[in-house]
């Protein structure tokens, strides 16, 4: 990839609106972080917000509410970013526009392993069952992709989606079968059925960070090679890319990110799909830009959905997973409607 002549082509390598898009996304990100800190069952004034964030000495009620919301906001931020990047990676690896952890059933795989952990191994702390979730997510991803890519035409969107739906059906039946006789596990697990960042605290952030960093670093490292992969396996091999290794690494990072997010927040679907498609629409298919920008927009989508959920569900809260499904599923429909017959 580095052999591309520098002069003349440099202009073309940078997407047209990159600067504008980055600026817009950063503004949106700051606004959504502010909203996440300020809105909720109690709305905070701008003054209180600034006090809470920048004047640790101020002990007003508003300031302390803001401080309590910081952990949740940071967690939402990394969770959204992780899901965004995970979607971008999975779409690149499978060369498939609708790959998303929720559609591929990876979330349910993580759920099943966590439920088994709680029920049979009496594991109770998130720092332990995050590993289970990741293993479950990986096994499911391999299984679904294996079934979906059988046959001559490879992994078409329809095959992958159906394999994902069938796998989800089996896994969720098993989850129910394990839960029914064990009411105590059901209580622990209930918040998990729908993804939510409401119960997040500093512990969740601390547990998440190492996985998040590992996933993001791998994603950024493999991005240039993924670009080559998009040209087809032969071309990529010709460019000196070891396709098998790159695929493995990218898939590993993608599953790591969504498995960790699912372990801590429950299944939150469609963020990867939504973020990646929005970004691809404005900056084009270059994976090097796609990954960081999908991270930022994933974070924005999750934070804004979370804030909306606080209003729609009041006096309680509407879990963020419900909202993202409602906004994200139409994107799936739109992609399908636009797609050409043979590519489905």
């Amino acid at each position: 990839m580095k052999n591309i002549p520098e002069k003349g082509n440099k202009q073309r390598l940078l997407p047209k609106h990159l600067a504008k898009v980055v600026a817009l996304l950063l503004i949106l990100l700051i606004v959504s972080i502010g909203m996440s800190l300020a809105f909720g069952s109690r709305t905070i004034s701008l003054e209180g917000l600034i006090d809470g964030l920048f004047h640790p000495s101020v002990e007003s009620h508003e300031a302390s509410v803001v401080r309590q919301r910081i952990a949740r906001t940071i967690f939402g931020l990394i969770c959204g970013a992780a899901l965004g990047v995970s979607g971008a990676l999975m779409q690149s690896v499978t060369r498939n526009p609708i790959a998303d952890p929720s559609i591929l059933g990876v979330n349910t795989g993580a759920s099943l392993f966590v439920v088994c952990g709680i029920a049979f191994l009496s594991i109770h702390s998130p720092s332990e069952y995050i590993w289970l979730a990741i293993v479950g997510a990986m096994l499911t991803a391999v299984f679904v992709f294996g079934i979906g890519s059988m046959g001559a035409s490879g992994a078409t969107p329809l095959k992958l989606v159906l394999a994902g739906a069938a796998t989800t059906a089996i896994l969720s039946s098993l989850v129910t079968a394990i839960l029914i006789p064990r009411t105590n596990v059901m209580d622990q697990f209930r918040f998990w059925q729908v993804g939510s960042v409401g119960s997040a605290n500093w512990d969740s952030v601390h547990i998440f960070i190492p996985f998040f960093m590992a996933g993001i670093v791998i994603a950024i490292l493999v991005a240039p090679a993924l670009n080559a992969l998009a040209l087809g396996d032969e071309v990529a091999t010709g460019l000196g890319v070891r396709t098998g290794v790159i695929r493995m690494l990218a898939a590993f990072a993608g599953v790591l990110l969504c498995g960790a997010a699912t372990a801590l927040a429950g299944p939150i679907g469609f963020i990867g799909l939504l973020a990646t498609h929005l970004i691809r629409l404005v900056v084009g298919p270059d994976v090097r830009f796609l990954i960081p920008l999908a991270a930022v927009s994933g974070a924005i989508i999750l934070l804004i959905s979370d804030v909306c959920g606080r209003f729609l569900g009041s006096p309680g809260e509407l879990e963020v997973g419900i909202l993202t499904a409602f906004i994200g599923a139409p994107i799936l429909i739109l992609i399908t409607m636009k797609a050409k017959m043979r590519t489905i």
Binding site: L174, A329, I333
Partner: protein, 343 residues
């Protein structure tokens, strides 16, 4: 020469006809056996004579309550819902010429559930209106999915993908409704979300029974045309079938019985998906398989419920059992279709 060939054809037809009748009778016998087992087995096992006495109106302390209030409603609900899911699912699969295109996968049952839950939680309507709303919800979902997937050229793959997208949205909507719902409405609404024969009441099965009794002859009457539809749209048109009219009638009938079955037992996983392919396999092609598919639906529901009730220490609702049995078959089918390379 001509006569000989004719004779051969007639003989072959007869043979298939006999096979069809024979298998249908065997299925009916299995169904009756399962119904009897449902009535006899329970916390206390009552002899057949007692069951018959109670059903004829005699009062036996203990047995009367268990049989009239618990086992009879359960059996009746399973019987008619199983038939409705099996026959309705078969209609969809045949009409769309793809075993994967069934009401569960493309989200029609979810449409019914969403409409019903909306009526229960937001509008607080009577149960008749709820059932009606479920039928309308199912039909609207079909219309939306079909409309969106038409596009430049119709493809079954697109229809399934759009159905899955719609289903995700409807599920999100249902979750939202469950969240804002009042606690005392929730048990009522939960019935729509998971398949189970627990808590079935005889009065609640009446709309379903009436619908199945009326719709089944309609389906069988149109079965011949359905068979021609199976040959493909063009062939059917050239054989003089008004394809659009037939499609609409069949679709409405199928959605009607499936929605009412969902109203009675909740969406029991995979019955609508499994019954058709199994019927095709045991009966073979050549005759319309509505009756066998319906009977296989009943056998799956009642068998699944018996397994769920008695095979394990914990009692599982029938939907969990059919989910665990049905999903692997779906995967097997996918693998087979993918190998052949045509969805």
């Amino acid at each position: 020469m001509m006569n000989e060939t004719m004779n051969k054809i007639i003989k072959a037809r007869k043979k298939r006809r006999n096979r069809y009748v024979g298998i249908t009778i065997i299925l009916a016998i299995i169904t009756i056996v399962l119904c009897c087992t449902m009535m006899i087995l329970g916390n206390t096992i009552y002899p057949v004579a007692d069951v018959i006495d109670v059903l004829l109106g005699e009062t036996i302390p203990g047995a009367s309550f268990a049989i009239n209030e618990i086992r009879l409603p359960r059996t009746v609900a399973g019987l008619f819902a199983g038939f409705a899911f099996g026959a309705g699912g078969y209609i969809f699969q045949t009409m769309l010429r793809n075993p994967l295109a069934n009401p569960n996968v493309i989200g029609i049952t979810t449409g019914s559930s969403a409409a019903a839950v909306f009526c229960i939680i937001v509008l607080h309507t009577s149960s008749t209106v709820v059932s009606l709303a479920a039928v309308v919800g199912g039909l609207v979902t079909v219309a939306i999915i079909y409309g969106l997937s038409k596009g430049t050229s119709f493809s079954i793959g697109r229809l399934i993908l759009i159905g899955i997208g719609i289903q995700a949205m409807l599920n999100a909507f249902i979750s939202y409704l469950m969240l804002i719902g009042k606690t005392n409405d929730l048990p009522n609404a939960l019935r729509w979300l998971s398949g189970s024969l627990n808590g079935a009441e005889l009065e609640m099965t009446y709309p379903l029974i009436i619908a199945v009794v009326i719709v089944t002859p309609v389906l069988i009457y149109f079965a011949k045309q359905l068979e021609m539809l199976e040959l493909g749209e063009q062939a059917a048109t050239s054989l003089g079938v008004n394809t659009n009219k037939t499609r609409v009638i069949l679709m409405i009938s199928a959605v009607l019985i499936i929605a009412l079955a969902t109203a009675t037992t909740g969406p029991i996983a995979f019955i609508a998906f499994l019954a058709g392919p199994i019927a095709q396999r045991v009966v073979g092609v050549g005759f319309s398989n509505i009756l066998p598919a319906g009977l296989i639906g009943v056998i799956l529901v009642l068998g699944g419920d018996l397994i769920g009730q008695f095979a394990f220490e914990t009692r599982y609702p029938v939907g969990v059992i059919t989910g665990i049995i049905g999903a692997p078959y779906l995967i097997y089918l996918l693998i087979r279709i993918n190998r052949k390379g045509d969805i």
